[in-house]
């Protein structure tokens, strides 16, 4: 979704470069019509004078991004240092690739990697289809009131914080939660889902479903509403039943959005709920809950071995970029735009 907007941005530029729509530019062109028919050919100094307040407006945001997003990119060089807080980034000793060598020989790191991929795979299989199915179901409900109420209710948990979601889960299915309270009262034994490392990936996935399925529903419903209703009527009068229509009209109509969401999911395969896992690491133990992000947090900041954590971070970023690139290639192969065009 993120990328759709970004792409649109590019789209708009391309299309809106033709019709002027810019009064200031129009005026300048008019005054120097003979010499510079194309606005883009204008002297940059003229354009700077014309656009200086526009540029000024972007500066606060650009400044914040430079400090808090671009400066840390430079700061990744700490991964090649023995960073010491007392010396700062500039004076710390160089380590070369020592941190990476240590990282790749660290069984805890590979365990975190394994957990990450495992949880990611479980989420892909169990979470990804649910918003699509629910959106299809909701779309088939004719009563618009029911539809919007259900949509609103499922959308709401998207705005809960992870602490809140985990707390609610804890109160429902945790050791002292509602479910076990019920089981105890009926002498049925107890079952604490919150601290069981074996079912942890399922727990994490069900939390993601609970929190974010409603968000996904909105995206897929939008795709559904863009499908031409006449197609359905034509298909029905040609004798296509509801399953055939689903297969031949609805799913192809949702295809690009599904592929886009899939590309995003694959690109983020190494980010599996940082906050969510951090909060539950204490309850379920690091063996089940450590993923790449929490690894980098605990062994980077927790033990103040900053360079080591930064190295783990770089490793994750590089693999993530490769994943985005690969997922996009895949999308192009299927004839879709994916995240960016060919």
């Amino acid at each position: 979704m993120v990328s759709t907007v970004a792409e649109q941005g590019e789209d708009e530029q391309d299309s809106s470069d033709r019709p002027a729509g810019d009064g200031g530019a129009g005026r300048t062109t008019a005054s120097s019509a003979g010499t510079a028919p194309q606005v883009d050919r204008l002297n940059w100094r003229v354009r700077l004078r014309r656009d200086k307040s526009l540029i000024l407006m972007t500066l606060p945001a650009v400044g914040l991004l430079l400090v808090f997003n671009y400066l840390p990119m430079v700061g990744t060089i700490t991964a090649f240092q023995y960073y010491d807080p007392l010396d700062g980034i500039r004076n710390s000793q160089w380590a070369g690739l020592a941190n990476f060598r240590q990282l790749f020989g660290d069984p805890l790191f590979w365990h975190a990697m394994e957990n990450t991929l495992y949880i990611s795979a479980v989420q892909l299989v169990l979470f990804f289809p649910i918003p699509i199915l629910l959106a299809l179901l909701l779309n088939s409900v004719l009563n618009s009131r029911i539809r919007s109420v259900v949509q609103a209710i499922t959308f709401l948990p998207h705005f809960y914080s992870w602490v809140l979601v985990v707390t609610l889960f804890q109160q429902m299915i945790g050791g002292a939660g509602l479910l076990n309270q019920f089981l105890r009262q009926h002498n049925a034994g107890t079952w604490d889902f919150m601290t069981n490392p074996h079912t942890f990936s399922l727990l994490v996935t069900s939390q993601v479903v609970w929190k974010d399925a409603g968000w996904g529903i909105i995206v897929f419903l939008a795709a559904l509403s863009a499908i031409d209703q006449n197609l359905y009527e034509a298909a029905a009068s040609d004798g296509a039943g509801r399953w055939r229509r689903l297969w031949h009209i609805t799913l192809p109509g949702m295809r690009s959005v599904i592929v886009l969401m899939l590309v995003l999911r694959l690109g983020n395969a190494l980010s599996v709920g940082f906050e969510q896992l951090l909060i539950q690491r204490f309850a379920v133990g690091h063996d089940a809950a450590d993923v790449l992000d929490t690894f980098s947090f605990y062994y980077g900041i927790g033990t103040q071995n900053y360079s080591y954590g930064a190295a783990a971070g770089i490793f994750k970023s590089v693999i993530s970029l490769l994943l985005i690139w690969g997922a996009n290639k895949l999308a192009h192969r299927f004839g879709e735009d994916g995240l960016y065009r060919k």
Binding site: M73, V141, V150
Partner: protein
């Protein structure tokens, strides 16, 4: 076919749903039941936990004892946990801190984002392609957790409130949504204003902002919810400073991890004379407190929201 298109009968015993397209098959009873059950379950799964927590937070200790924990059926109502919680102590302080962070942070984020979005919304302006690239790039590449932490720390942000606000003050996604609105709405109005000699600042304030109230409201809510939910930055920059914790972190420490609330669960109750209040109701009251603003604001915004999101995400 003509019998099928008979005028829809309003009322209880209508033969077919007027909203159903003529060409569509009549629904099967099994299908309708399955559909209803699925949607009903989904809605219950989302509502029941919140209902339970809210009810427990206003239940008397007796009711909680009889239920053996969370309360499902109203059995005795008291607002003691709320008066205890709000009469002083860590939760009230956290509430004040969180409100301040939310208000200040949202204000900063909105000013910065609206300005930037408008500044980038005029196509052909000098450098807007470059600046846009600069923004979009941060969505795909980041320095990562540790370097960000080190930069904020080296700038002196450790333990300071600004470290909860400034590092995440700019959301490029939000700026792009705003920008796509600004560049598509009211081009004639903007041109007219410019002809009349209005400055860009003036145009933004008197033309663009009044015509895009819905999207402004949606983005404001986005930011406000983000600040209200501030958690991880607290864990990064002020994990030991319990005086400065916002609500989410208090929820984490005192409810999620079940730590003792200093001066509230142990000694505070004796002081305020509510020593028999069950801590569970107090814990649930903290949960409700973090939940409440989102619940209150959501119905009002829901309508704008779906609209704003749809146009932002998939061009409508």
């Amino acid at each position: 076919m003509t019998t099928l298109t008979a005028p829809p009968v309003r009322g209880r015993s209508r033969p077919r749903n007027p909203h159903r397209p003529v060409w569509e098959e009549p629904p099967t009873a099994a299908g309708q039941t399955a559909k209803g059950l699925t949607l009903g379950t989904v809605v219950l799964l989302i509502i029941v936990p919140v209902y339970c927590v809210v009810l427990t937070s206003v239940s008397t200790p007796g009711a909680i004892n009889r239920a053996g924990g969370l309360v499902l059926v109203p059995d005795g109502i008291t607002f003691d946990p709320y008066t205890t919680m709000l009469s002083g102590g860590p939760v009230r302080r956290a509430l004040v801190v969180t409100l301040a962070i939310t208000v200040v942070g949202t204000a900063i984020s909105m000013v910065v984002s609206v300005l930037c979005a408008y500044g980038l919304s005029r196509s052909r302006s000098l450098g807007h392609r470059f600046l846009l690239m600069l923004l979009v790039l941060t969505m795909f590449v980041s320095g990562g957790l540790i370097p960000t932490f080190l930069v904020v720390s080296e700038l002196g942000g450790y333990g300071k409130y600004w470290s909860l606000i400034l590092p995440s003050a700019v959301s490029v996604f939000n700026i792009l949504v705003l920008r796509s609105f600004y560049s598509s709405t009211a081009a004639e109005l903007i041109d007219a204003a410019r002809m009349d000699g209005a400055s860009e600042w003036r145009i933004l304030w008197s033309v663009v902002l009044p015509t895009s109230r819905a999207v402004t409201a949606v983005i404001t809510l986005f930011y406000a919810v983000g600040y209200w939910n501030t958690f991880f930055n607290v864990m990064l920059y002020m994990p030991a400073d319990s005086q400065k914790w916002p609500l989410q972190y208090v929820l984490y420490e005192y409810v999620n991890l079940g730590m003792n609330m200093p001066g509230q669960v142990n000694s505070g109750f004796g002081v305020s004379g509510h020593s028999q209040t069950a801590p569970l109701s107090l814990q649930m009251a903290v949960v409700v407190l973090t939940l409440l603003p989102i619940m209150l604001v959501f119905p009002f915004m829901q309508k704008h929201f779906a609209k704003g999101m749809l146009t932002g995400a998939i061009k409508g």
